[in-house]
């Protein structure tokens, strides 16, 4: 009986250690590479903020807005949604990414300013079992809407969380096998809205 228990214990130990070994083998990314991926994901969020400014800007020609919308949509995973809030309404509306940008372009103001700031991680990128790194980046958005005659007619500050997915992929470029990190944004959820 005692011998059988010892053997069972040994088998369990072997299974556990092989699992650990497998995990360690997969997590071969160095801190420097991890930092590069963290920066890349943050950069994509900053890129999005610039695209949003261009799309929302009433002086941007329609064709330019359409081109930029395409670039912005490419940053997102399919079926991602973006939350929209207002100080005058308690509910948050969620729109599919493309619909959000189309609505942004057609906002009923003469001039719009949208600025994103304090862009930072609230949850670091962490490796999932399938190899994807997932994290959450938070942003503060200042929105200002102007009327030609009345000036500033609406203003709010919103805190939003953006889920970020980063996965390593490979492709052939000119005969070379290139390993790249594909950063895709998930849902943008509204956390707080204030005046």
């Amino acid at each position: 009986m005692r011998v059988r228990n010892s053997i069972n214990g040994l088998i369990c130990l072997l299974i556990l250690s092989s699992g650990l070994f497998a995990q360690n083998k997969d997590e071969s990314i160095s801190p420097q590479r991890k930092q590069a991926i963290d920066s890349l994901a943050l950069e994509k969020v900053r890129d999005l903020s610039k695209y949003i400014s261009i799309i929302g800007n009433k002086s941007t020609p329609w064709s330019e807005s359409q081109r930029v919308i395409e670039r912005a949509v490419e940053l997102f995973m399919e079926n991602s949604e973006i939350g929209v809030s207002s100080v005058s309404k308690p509910d948050v509306a969620y729109y599919k990414v493309r619909e959000y940008f189309d609505r942004l372009m057609k906002l009923n103001y003469d001039r719009v300013n949208i600025d994103w700031y304090k862009i930072q991680y609230v949850s670091d990128l962490e490796r999932q079992p399938d190899g994807t790194y997932v994290g959450v980046i938070t942003i503060y958005q200042r929105f200002q809407g102007f009327d030609k005659e009345k000036g500033l007619i609406y203003e709010d500050t919103t805190k939003k969380d953006i889920t970020v997915y980063v996965k390593r992929k490979e492709t052939q470029i000119g005969g070379r096998l290139i390993g790249f990190w594909d950063v895709l944004l998930g849902d943008i959820r509204v956390k707080e809205t204030s005046k």
Partner: protein, 267 residues
């Protein structure tokens, strides 16, 4: 006998001249015969000479050019000596010359390829050689006299580059590209859309096509890249972001000296 003499005496002087003329023609035709049948001795000598020449060609010891050797073989073949050994040697010589021509073409192609690679390196001038150093290298390539259009075009480009270096007008390509990127970002930031378009157009001309791949290194360890893009989209990205965050790491040229692939690295 008396009758014969009487007959001879009866021949007029015109007849004598006529007979002499006929005789003269007969003698000349016999003496001028050079294309007719050779004597066996002469033919044997010619065959031996032909075998000797063919032997030199087959053994590769002939000092004449390949074209001259080929003419020699064809001349011998056209004489139709009806000698089996000659016929065999003619075939062997033709095969040897065929291989020799092929080898010469291969060597020439290798020279062309090597010259092309050298010229493209010179255009890139990664080692930042002086105009004199580049000129010396270019002279060696020109001396090869390769007679290839692509090579001549590249030579002209390098000559232009060297001339520009001597007049201090040429900026290294890496700097040209980075300056263009920064220029587009700055022009976009200041709202100068015509400057943006002008810089975009002139920058695209450095590239083999609008689809030329652009790879951005995010970490040399790996190495790890951002999602690949192309030069047209990258220039649009600079315009949208109004900032140039990447430096030129390396580039590859196509056979016409245009950039076919660009690697950037985070600044």
């Amino acid at each position: 006998m008396t009758e014969i003499v009487q007959k001879i005496k009866s021949i007029q002087w015109q007849h004598y001249i006529f007979i002499l003329l006929i005789a003269a023609i007969g003698v000349c035709s016999n003496g001028c015969k050079t294309t007719g049948k050779l004597s066996k001795k002469e033919q044997k000598a010619q065959i031996e000479t032909a075998k000797k020449m063919l032997s030199e060609i087959i053994n590769g010891t002939s000092s004449k050019s390949l074209e001259t050797q080929l003419r020699t073989v064809n001349d011998i073949a056209n004489r139709h000596y009806k000698d089996p050994e000659i016929d065999r040697m003619v075939e062997d010589a033709r095969q040897v010359l065929k291989n020799a021509f092929a080898e010469r073409d291969k060597q020439k192609q290798e020279q062309v390829d090597a010259a092309r690679a050298e010229l493209l390196d010179m255009l890139q001038n990664k080692d930042e050689k002086s105009a004199d150093e580049l000129e010396a290298e270019l002279s060696k390539i020109k001396a090869l006299n390769l007679g290839n259009k692509d090579i001549n075009d590249l030579i002209a480009k390098v000559e232009q580059m060297i001339a520009g270096m001597r007049t201090h007008k040429t900026v290294p390509l890496k700097n040209q590209i980075e300056n263009a990127f920064q220029g587009i970002a700055d022009a976009s930031k200041s709202g100068n859309s015509s400057q943006v378009m002008s810089l975009t157009r002139s920058t695209l001309q450095l590239f083999s096509s609008d689809d030329a791949p652009v790879l951005i290194i995010i970490s040399r360890e790996g190495p790890d890249y951002d999602k690949p893009t192309n030069i047209k989209l990258y220039l649009e990205f600079l315009r949208d972001q109004k900032a140039s965050r990447n430096a030129v790491d390396s580039y590859m040229f196509d056979s016409e000296g245009k950039i076919k692939e660009l690697d950037l690295i985070k600044k």
